[in-house]
Amino acid sequence: MRYQRLGLDLVSHLLLAAGCGLFFLPVWLAFTASTHSMSDLYTHIAPLWIGDVGLGNYAQLLSESVSGLNTGMLRLLFNSLVMATGIAAGKIVISVLAAYAIVFFRFPLRRLCFWLIFITLMLPVEVRILPTYEVVANLHMLDSYSGLILPLIASATATFLLRQFYLTIPPELVEAARIDGAGPWRFLKDILLPLSKTNLAALFVIMFIYGWNQYLWPLLVTTDASYMTVVVSLKRMLTTGDALVPWQDVTATAILAMGPPILVILLLQRYFVKGLVDAEK
């Protein structure tokens, strides 16, 4: 069922290899840089192999408070974790309910609702950032986890993906459940959620990474360093005024910042991959 003989086998493999390089080289460079001392980094350009400091920079980063902030790296990682988890979980709850309402209920404003959610697609947080800031400030949610999380929770993308999945559920399944005496909530709980387990895991991972990588909003809404996130701290390290940028710390932080997303992926991988691959059987 697929093209098997290609004629352009060699070309495609070369392209693939180049693609791999393109994706992995930066990560490798970041890692090697993080194992050199600062003076090394300012005398050589882009070291290609592990330096003599080894993991020393990491030990130092995790034990001392971050330069320029009176907060430890672990606190920053924890803040990022809370924010990313909160955003991912919140997005999923909202999206499940919204998609459920749109697909399975016939109410007068269904079409309007669809369009409203659709419109939020073009209003990512960056665009509506100023008025949102005002609202959050008025509600005294600056420098708090809820202030970090709540404004990022509405997710048109997740709602759409779930909606597409719900539309593939045969209507007979809904009817069978009605005949079996399952009301709307019971249907959601007993049938729909168990069926969308893999999709929810996949969404959680994607949304967790999205939340983890947020920059602009956490920057605006936190002034207290104890609520700062890792990604924001990275940017801080780069703007040192007249001092030299501590590249070994920056790269080590970048590598550390990649840890939790990778961990979440590994934990949910079983479901996640199934959710992405299952159409292939």
């Binding site: 045969p170 009605r178 399952a182």
Partner: protein, 369 residues
């Protein structure tokens, strides 16, 4: 075990399309009614209004004399078997069968007991822990049946439950459904587009067309005495042959000029249709009694094994005349045949497709003789 009464039941969709035109039907206790018709005839809509999955626009539906028009499906005490089975993919067979009981708050022990008993009845005892996707088509079908049976409902509704099975399995499950239904004695309504399934299963058959009931009765009565041309052409395979005829002095006149004395109810000179079933056309012997003969040419032969279908043509006529010959018949394409048929096997329909024979009383015995 209930009676079902449909009174002038009507279904009109918001876009104005009328799916059901005042359907009247009463189903007796323990009866198996089969609703049959081509796709789009409204048979599935009818079943879905019985189930409560579609609202009723007008008329009344009662189960055991109790009006249920406005009731939720779960309150009507019915069970439905779907065409694609609609099993819950993430639940085990036992979970699927017990879900309705669980929703009703039946104690767990009793659920387990009733599920086990039903599984036993259907030969599913070994499979209770399996998921639907681990089952074969026939087994899924059985689980769907089991899910309906375990609730001990007032009425079973079947929506083309066999159409996803292959031919051999279909024959087998057909026998099994009939046996189960007789054994449990639950009033049932069965929808299908397959006329063979319909004929073999039904206590009474309802033939639908364009949202209306065309005819209702026992399978053999409908086969022997179809009330409309539609029913005549829908039941039976190969289908009934139709010849255009005219009436003359109380006789029908065949395209080849032969006159046939039949008690028809059509004004002089009007066009009508004469129907004869393929199995009632036989090769004429020299000593043919009182019958009519037609000289035809064989254009194509279809060997079916036991039978041989000959697609023949009457000179000057467009339509095929299909004849069922013995499977070992030595006919060849291009050969001429002389076909005979008896007036007792004739059906005459008027220009509107309605049966137009005057003798209602004696017809049945003659046709079934």
């Amino acid at each position: 075990m209930a009676t079902l009464q449909l009174t002038r039941l009507k279904k009109r969709y918001p876009n104005g399309f009328i799916a059901l035109h005042e359907v009247d039907l009463s189903v007796a206790e323990g009866e198996l009614i089969v609703i049959v018709g081509p796709s789009g005839c409204g048979k599935s809509t009818l079943l879905r209004t019985l189930a409560g999955l579609e609202s009723i626009s007008d008329g009344e539906l009662t189960i055991n004399g109790r009006r249920v028009n406005e009731m939720e499906p779960a309150e009507r005490d019915i069970a439905m078997v779907f065409q694609n089975y609609a099993l819950y993919p993430h639940m085990s067979v036992a979970g699927n069968m017990g879900y309705a009981l669980k929703n009703r708050g039946v104690p767990k022990d009793e659920i387990r007991h009733r599920v086990a008993a039903t599984a036993e009845l259907l030969g599913l005892g070994e499979l209770l822990e399996r998921r639907p996707r681990q089952l074969s088509g026939g087994q899924r079908q059985r689980v769907a049946m089991g899910r309906a049976i375990v609730r001990e409902p007032q009425v079973f509704l079947f929506d083309e439950p066999l159409s996803n099975l292959d031919a051999k399995l279909r024959v087998q499950m057909r026998l099994e459904i009939r046996r189960l239904q007789k054994r449990l004695g639950v009033t049932s309504v069965y929808v299908t587009h397959d006329q063979v399934e319909a004929m073999t299963l039904a206590d009474r058959l309802v033939v639908m067309n364009g949202g209306r009931v065309e005819q209702c009765g026992t399978p053999m009565a409908l086969y022997a005495q179809p009330a409309t041309r539609f029913v005549a052409s829908f039941l039976g395979s190969p289908a009934m042959n139709f010849l255009p005829v005219t009436t003359h002095q109380g006789c029908v006149v065949l395209p080849n000029g032969t006159q046939l004395a039949l008690p028809v109810d059509i004004p002089e000179g009007r066009a009508a249709t004469l129907g004869v079933r393929p199995e009632h056309l036989v090769e004429a012997t020299s000593t043919q009694d009182a019958g009519v003969t037609l000289d035809v040419t064989v254009e194509m032969l279809e060997p079916l094994g036991a039978d041989m279908l000959a697609y023949t043509r009457l000179p000057g006529l467009e339509e095929w005349l299909v004849v069922r010959l013995d499977g070992a018949h030595a006919a060849s394409e291009g050969q001429r045949l002389s076909l005979a048929f008896s007036p007792t096997h004739c059906h005459v329909f008027d220009a509107d497709g309605m049966r137009a024979m005057t003798e209602r009383a004696g017809a049945k015995e003659r046709a079934v003789q």
